[in-house]
Symmetry: C4
Subunit: 233 residues, 4 copies
């Protein structure tokens, strides 16, 4: 019973994403990593949120993916989470949901453009969408390959995963992350909000342009980085 | 008082569809069948959900449609439910609602395309819509004929009712079903969710294509059938 | 203190329309008539719903419009309600709100077409919209003239106010009514629901046709009139 | 501890805008001015609403912007609020949120047209949108310049800030105000409501015209000004 704090954190985040309205049915999972211990913990597969207890949270080796603690099978999306932790080394928590507006953009195969300061306060540019997966990527190691196309998109566009802490998987839905799991939950909430705001903006003006670069810089940098002046610190 | 468990199941499901937000006013009814006993039970017609008690649930002969237990008239949609049970022999429960987004697609006379993995996880292809009914089908035996056009659509397109456990009745609204009534309730909830997701996907990209066949297979089959690996079993 | 029951009914309905989600701020008012006594009662003007008590409900002469009981000024929309009672002699209750979707259709100046059976179950044809009011109708006796353009629309199109128990006032919002105030409240709720369903139907298929006449007849007449067979009576 | 009443008012309003559904995360701030004392009070920056206490509310000099009471840094939007108080001398309270529909119009860079009486009851004409800010206005004194472009829009169009008590900041979101902070909160709620109603009106009829001038006058003036006859006074 070595990972009480990690399992508690993961259990809490899985409650928080339900509370925030991001989860229908059992469609969502949150995970966290303990890099010093070389393990990650994630929601078990297909379990109802209201019967889930912290001790039900399985713990896995980050290296091998094998379960090191817990009786229940981890989420079927585990290989995606694990791939993200292994490739995005600054990431401490990952959240996957089927939240409505993010799914709509993912199903449309479109990146969410940065149309306003709400977006710019949290994501330093458009929310990218992955390319369609190839048949062989789907048929074998599908969940790991889902992580691979996310990482490919970030590498290809030279994006910093901590500056743009979320993505839409084409035809599927959003993944969000952060330096820790609390930040990942916040980013999952904001991702859904800006996806909704962008959709209704286009309904008013289908050619609405992206936010000016100067405003994007101003808003992102007043909350993040060395010269941030938002909040109490 | 022979059918306590059946009536309790039906009563509970009629509460569950309200709780799930699928029902406005009294527009919804859930039923279940006991094939060994040759009976079905269904919500009574036009009764408020909050005054409904399990003993109010009428029980009918599956063969003749005659009431065998209960004081109240069954839902006016009973002949539709009964026709489905008689034609779709693997079905154990049926749910009909006027849930908003499913009704919008039904009123538009359009099938809900499979645009993403949320849909593919539960329905193995588009949600079909029935053809418009003919005047004589409306004027005589309307509710039974509603069932008949559903069955016609499934037969015509060679669809398996347990792989695509729901339908839109043209100009009317959704019916969902399942191997038992719990599954039917879940499918009614998911049907509404994917109808909403499809609508907003088209608002972002009016020509969004259907999900790749390989992804549809992957998602449906990882939750259903012999090689399923989702959940704890 | 002669009209306790009437005031209680009106008070309750004004709570019910808030509970049903039809009212933002103080934008809504319900009234009822007692034709034997020659009086009507209506919500007072600009009073918060949660501080309103049954005894605050003013009672007016149906003939003269003068207050016969109560300390508070009646709703500024009172002359509209009174005109409807005087012209539509089968009406026992009237509800006015600024419910969202009905307002959107009213602001668009468009009647809500009958696109499905939900609509047909309650309204025997499209929900009409009044013509734009003329400058002199606005500047003098505005609220009474609001009633007059409603009545004009029903007379002109030869509509039965009890078969189509609601209307959209152009650029303004919905009025609904019924044989009694309970029916008026129900019709106000359904009017909002079918306005929303019609809007989303058009988003899926902008040329969605009206419901077949045979289906309109079937659904309206199975709930209303001599051959009705819906519900327990 | 000289400004108890002012801080209490500001604290309450910051709770009220959350309760009214205008605030996601911590995106919103309400302030009030005491012109006799030459001070304003505003929500502190980036603090959760549910841990905020009245004594946490910082008080600032209206003249210099310097903090005169309180331990916490004021909202980063403080210079915008302060500029509005200094330029719009009849204003007693200001509310800024990222409420969904108002943000969608702001991101679209479009004024909200007056399409109905709900709008006309509260805003005496379209809700204006500011021009895009220039790079130098963004990079230096951004928050004060946000106030400046608001004031510029009102001066340029010769608008009375108390007759049109709100604005959309281009690419950002709404500010609302009023003679006191209660009125500002109410105006922020109504601004969001009419932004939503306008959007859905355009979805039904993309060329819906503005409300007739005579109706705009009638509705605005029956609630405001010398001849108002709405409410109990």
């Amino acid at each position: 019973m070595a990972y009480e704090a990690l399992k508690q954190t993961v259990w809490q985040a899985n409650q928080d994403i339900v509370e925030a309205g991001l989860v229908e049915m059992t469609w969502g999972n949150a995970s966290a990593v303990d890099r010093d211990a070389g393990v990650m913990a994630i929601k078990p597969s297909g379990v109802d949120y209201d019967t889930l207890a912290p001790d039900d949270v399985p713990v896995l080796s980050l290296e091998t993916g094998e379960r090191v603690e817990g009786q229940l099978k981890p989420s079927s999306d585990t290989p995606t989470h694990r791939h993200l932790y292994r490739q995005f080394t600054g990431v401490g928590g990952v959240v996957h949901t089927h939240s409505h507006y993010a799914v709509a953009w993912a199903q449309a195969g479109r990146a969410v453009p940065c149309l306003g300061t709400t977006h710019a306060d949290h994501f330093y540019g458009p929310l990218p969408v992955t390319r369609a997966m190839r048949q062989e990527e789907i048929q074998s190691d599908y969940e790991k390959n889902t992580g691979a196309v996310i990482v490919e998109r970030f590498r290809e566009q030279d994006l910093d995963p901590l500056a743009i802490p979320g993505v839409l998987v084409n035809g599927h839905g959003p993944f969000a992350w952060g330096a820790d799991l609390d930040a990942a939950v916040e980013n999952a909430i904001v991702l859904e909000s800006v996806a909704r705001k962008a959709l209704d903006t286009y309904r008013i003006h289908s050619d609405a342009g992206p936010l000016d670069r100067a405003l994007l810089d101003k808003h992102y940098l007043r909350k993040h980085g060395a010269d941030a002046y938002y909040g109490q610190e």
